[in-house]
């Protein structure tokens, strides 16, 4: 049998495709939910930073945000994942929680730290005159933020968020360390059981590439739609 035939027989009759589909699903779930949770956490952390007050409860919140961002960005995702899965969750009596859900939580927290920075710099990139003009027509700070500054910041950061999504997607390959079947794991199994490595890993690389190209294309479309807003008369 040729290399490809070995792979194909394991993939089809051998049931490898079932793992592949499960892997695809898990990879997608972890990357997408991680991104969504990350966006929510990141927005909250970034917005706390922009509260124009120096009262102590606000200061404490800002401090917590800083520590969170520093720690999560300063350690590898794989370490965070191992720590949560093998130490923190079992210690809190949460060892029974589904591993995919654990991965989603870790990816969400990790991505939240990066998103906080992305959103913060996106807001900072909006001309301060926009906020001032909002205040000058009688809008409050938060109204100006919501109606004027954030929509402009969002438009600016769409490409960066796209990159974050692509990074997350590729990083999902670390979840096999906590026994989640993802795309990488599914091909890994075929390779290890057939001792034929070339075709499964090439197949894996192509799968990732197609996903990444698809996301890039989606981001481009979204960007173009947001830009068109400005041009039409």
């Amino acid at each position: 049998m040729s290399n490809f035939e070995i792979f194909w027989s394991k993939f089809s009759q051998g049931g490898g495709y079932v793992d592949y589909l499960i892997g695809l699903q898990n990879t997608a779930i972890i990357a997408v939910l991680g991104l969504v949770i990350g966006f929510i956490i990141g927005s909250l952390v970034a917005l706390v930073k922009f509260i124009p007050s120096n009262k102590w409860p606000v200061k404490i919140l800002k401090g917590i945000g800083d520590v969170y961002v520093t720690v999560l960005r300063g350690t590898p995702m794989i370490v965070q994942l191992l720590l949560v899965h093998f130490a923190l969750f079992p210690m809190m009596g949460l060892g029974w929680v589904n591993s995919v859900a654990q991965a989603v939580i870790v990816f969400g927290l990790n991505s939240g730290a990066y998103m906080a920075e992305i959103i913060r710099s996106g807001v900072n990139a909006v001309d301060p005159g926009q906020m001032e003009a909002g205040r000058c027509v009688g809008l409050s700070y938060s109204e100006s933020m919501i109606k004027i500054v954030l929509p402009q910041a969002f438009k600016n950061i769409v490409p960066t968020i796209g990159n974050e999504f692509i990074t997350l997607l590729k990083e999902t390959s670390v979840v096999s360390f906590i026994a989640v079947i993802d795309l990488t794991k599914s091909m890994d199994s075929i390779a290890n059981s057939t001792y034929e490595y070339f075709v499964p890993y090439i197949f894996l690389a192509i799968t990732y590439l197609i996903l990444v190209l698809g996301i890039s294309y989606g981001i481009k479309l979204l960007e173009r739609r947001l830009k068109k807003n400005e041009r039409h008369q």
């Binding site: 001309d127 005159g129 926009q130 001032e132 003009a133 909002g134 205040r135 000058c136 027509v137 009688g138 809008l139 409050s140 109204e143 109606k147 004027i148 929509p151 402009q152 438009k155 807003n229 400005e230 041009r231 039409h232 008369q233």
Partner: protein
């Protein structure tokens, strides 16, 4: 033009503003009456913008400063400044139109927000319709009705500034502040903006205008104020001030700009 016994609408008393250790405004006092058009002149960096920005609290004045606007001391940090800002329009050097809003939305955003807050029971639809109608009337006045649905990035500087002025007008302010409204414009667009400001002056709008257009100041203002190093060094009727400057600094300044 204006008689001096008009009601004072904006009274600034001992205004001070310090950035870190830099004393930008040292002790500024001035009374502005209804219908006054005050031209603020002075060398760059002398605190003209800071003065305007303190008037509507874009900068917090130092403690002890008093700005009585509409019988309220808006320098007091405890008052609701949003409410008072609605009565005080601001036109910026760089226009600052809301980039994510159409021209029409730029003009109606403030008025709709204000009306909804003032009258919680009113129907939103009616308020929006009223604001739109008014905005269209204003656009008609400046000949830009066809730009109602355009975004600011598609407009020329002169169009942007005229829309920024109309945005301020739509709030029915009692005073409008202008910070070098023509300084960022190409020369051929300066005229259209000055013309609009002149029309506002003729209609009796109270205005404070920081400007380097001395000819315009002489023609339109009824009071000119010369700022230098954080104080008002000289003030008076423009014709007298320009024809007969007293201080050495003002003479020096005028010799450079005229």
């Amino acid at each position: 033009m204006n008689d001096t016994n008009n009601e004072v609408i904006l009274s600034v008393q001992h205004l001070k503003k310090t950035f870190n250790k830099l004393e930008v405004l040292k002790d500024v006092s001035i009374d502005i009456s209804k219908g006054d058009v005050v031209a603020v002149i002075g060398p760059s960096g002398c605190g003209k913008s800071t003065f305007l920005r303190c008037l509507n609290c874009l900068e917090d004045p130092d403690d002890g400063s008093v700005i009585i606007f509409d019988n309220v001391n808006i320098a007091d940090v405890r008052i609701d400044i949003n409410e008072h800002r609605r009565n005080m329009g601001m036109v910026f050097q760089h226009f600052n139109l809301f980039e994510n809003k159409t021209v029409l939305e730029n003009i109606t955003l403030g008025p709709i927000n204000a009306a909804l807050k003032k009258n919680k029971k009113a129907s939103k639809k009616a308020i929006v319709e009223e604001a739109k109608t008014k905005a269209m009337t204003l656009l008609e006045r400046i000949g830009l009705v066809d730009k109602a649905n355009a975004y600011p990035s598609t407009l020329s500087g002169g169009q942007k500034q005229r829309i920024a002025i109309v945005r301020a007008l739509a709030m029915d302010p009692k005073v409008i502040l202008f910070d070098e409204p023509t300084s960022a414009l190409d020369p051929e667009m300066v005229g259209e903006v000055l013309q609009l400001i002149k029309e506002l002056a003729q209609s009796g709008m109270t205005m404070v205008i920081v400007t380097h257009e001395m000819g315009f100041a002489k023609e339109v203002a009824n009071k000119v104020v010369f700022f230098n190093e954080g104080i008002i060094e000289e003030e008076g009727n423009p014709k007298e001030v320009f024809a007969n400057p007293q201080s050495v600094r003002l003479k020096d300044f005028l010799s450079k700009v005229l």
